[in-house]
């Protein structure tokens, strides 16, 4: 893009997003920033600018998808063949990928190196090592969306997040006085909406 922004970040979609997902995200943003909503509003300029940015990002991503050029936005390294390593990791050839990575001179290990090293560890199931490497990659290059996503995902699991946990039924709720009052207030509000009154004094 002209101003050097990553179109995937602008639209807020993943690099692997399908055309439908991109379109949905685009529609959301158009609703949010359409300049017609901001007429006679000091924010109008900002909205127009934002709208142009979103349009440009949308065109670019759609083009990428149609031409099959996902790879053009993947970060690379100047010190080693990172596209090759990425391909090896994707196809599951972890040992070979790790070999290439460990041959890189320790002084020349950049963010991309740490990210890929973390990906190798992740595939292997060595999550502690993966987490350390992802955070290193992220601290060297905090602006890369791919590194941040990897770190976020593992980081949320690290603090106890488990996917698919049945909600409600399993939650170990603390029943205390405060919660009880909140519940009563909510009930009162609901009753008042319907015309009744649960707690007459408020």
């Amino acid at each position: 893009m002209r101003n050097g922004k990553d179109p995937y970040v602008v639209l807020g979609v993943q690099r692997s997003a399908t055309e439908e997902e991109v379109k949905a995200a685009y529609k959301e943003l158009v609703k949010k920033y359409h300049p017609d909503q901001y007429q006679n509003n000091p924010l109008q300029d900002v909205a127009t600018e934002k709208m142009a940015e979103v349009n440009e990002a949308y065109d670019e991503i759609i083009n990428n998808i149609r031409n099959g050029e996902y790879a053009s936005y993947q970060s690379t390294s100047t010190f080693f063949d990172s596209a090759k390593v990425r391909e090896l990791i994707q196809t599951g050839n972890i040992t070979e990928a790790d070999n290439i990575l460990s041959r890189v001179d320790p002084a020349r290990r950049d963010a991309e190196w740490y990210f890929l090293k973390g990906s190798v560890a992740y595939k292997r199931g060595w999550f502690n090592e993966a987490y350390d490497n992802f955070s290193k990659a992220n601290s060297i290059n905090p602006n890369n969306a791919e590194y941040a996503a990897a770190l976020n995902q593992l980081g949320s699991q690290r603090s106890g997040q488990m996917n698919g946990m049945p909600s409600g039924y399993y939650q170990n709720r603390n029943q205390d006085a405060c919660n009880c009052c909140c519940d009563l207030m909510c009930m009162d509000a609901c009753c008042e909406c319907m015309g009744g009154d649960l707690i007459p004094c408020c």
Binding site: G125, W126, Y131, Q157, G160, M162, M165
Partner: protein, 304 residues
């Protein structure tokens, strides 16, 4: 196997608990039938979990009837009947115990060696019988055991590397259940994460004992390399607790991802209970040193 995989009973419905228990009883009886009396004494609830996953994924049938149990002869309990196919879980239990005994003989102290020597004859025949059907699995388990021995001799492995043998073992055990490539891969990863969880929980459970007796423990190695001073008295040091929390949480997080992708329907509530509540509860019990291997909560009030 290890005894760390259990359901969290307070959140179980009665009928779920009965199915869970009947599967456990069924494996116990199946082991007696096929492998002899002594093998059933080594059974733990881990096998019941393995059996439930096996039954769920493969859609095998489970029929239940009232039977007397050897541990409680005075009352009849629900028990999985002969027709239910629990052979995989019981075979795996025998294989794992056999390799564990062999390992104990090779490199443990005098007392352990004596116990292992006296038990081994009972398992030789059983092991051979289990091997008929599951030879490749047995080979993978013994490979993992060798790796474990090498790591214990080397005494320098990081946490990830130290978890590897147990993780590989469980990877082999669970991977075997899958019916196609996709399921096999998911279950293998599921097993790997579960193995990591088991190993790190076990390491924390044994930490005090190992510090006292100078045994191998990856957490001691970690303490040495990070200059953590602790003499084995009182609570676990903060860094150790944080390290174990992070490792356990990441392993369970990844395990949950695989579990969701597997989308097992049968026995879902029981499996959900074990995966989302039981494992974490066990780990927390171990962390607070309240864990009891014999599946009974210690006396006194329990914090829920």
């Amino acid at each position: 196997m290890f005894g760390y995989i259990r359901a969290y009973k307070p959140y179980m419905r009665m009928f779920e608990y009965e199915i869970y228990r009947s599967v456990y009883c069924g494996i116990c009886k199946d082991m007696h039938r096929r492998f002899g009396f002594m093998t059933r004494l080594t059974l733990s609830y881990d096998s019941a979990f393995l059996a439930l996953v096996d039954l769920s994924v493969r859609g095998k049938k489970l029929s239940v009837k009232n039977e007397r149990c050897i541990a409680h002869p005075w009352k009849k309990t629900m028990c999985a009947a002969c027709g239910s196919d629990l052979s995989y879980a019981s075979s795996v239990s025998v294989l794992l115990t056999y390799h564990k005994l062999r390992d104990d003989i090779a490199d443990k102290g005098f007392k352990k060696k004596l116990i292992a020597y006296s038990l081994l004859p009972f398992f030789k025949k059983a092991y051979k019988r289990a091997c008929v059907k599951y030879k490749p699995l047995s080979d993978r388990i013994s490979e993992a055991m060798k790796l474990q021995t090498a790591l214990e001799k080397d005494k320098s492995a990081g946490i990830d590397a130290a978890c590897e043998p147990t993780a590989l073992m469980m990877q082999a055990v669970f991977g075997e259940i899958g019916r196609n490539q996709r399921e096999k891969a998911l279950l293998a990863r599921f097993g790997y994460c579960l193995g990591r969880f088991i190993y790190i929980t076990d390491a924390l459970d044994d930490l005090k004992k190992d510090i006292e007796q100078g045994g191998y423990n990856p957490l001691i190695i970690y303490m040495r390399s990070h200059d953590i001073q602790w003499d084995g008295q009182g609570r676990f040091p903060k860094q150790i607790r944080e390290l174990c929390d992070a490792t356990v949480n990441m392993s369970l997080g990844q395990l949950a991802d695989c579990y969701v992708a597997l989308d097992m329907q049968r026995f879902r509530d029981i499996l959900d209970n074990i995966v989302y509540l039981g494992l974490k509860y066990t780990y927390n019990q171990v962390k607070q040193e309240k864990f009891n291997k014999r599946n009974k909560d210690r006396k006194g009030t329990t914090q829920l």
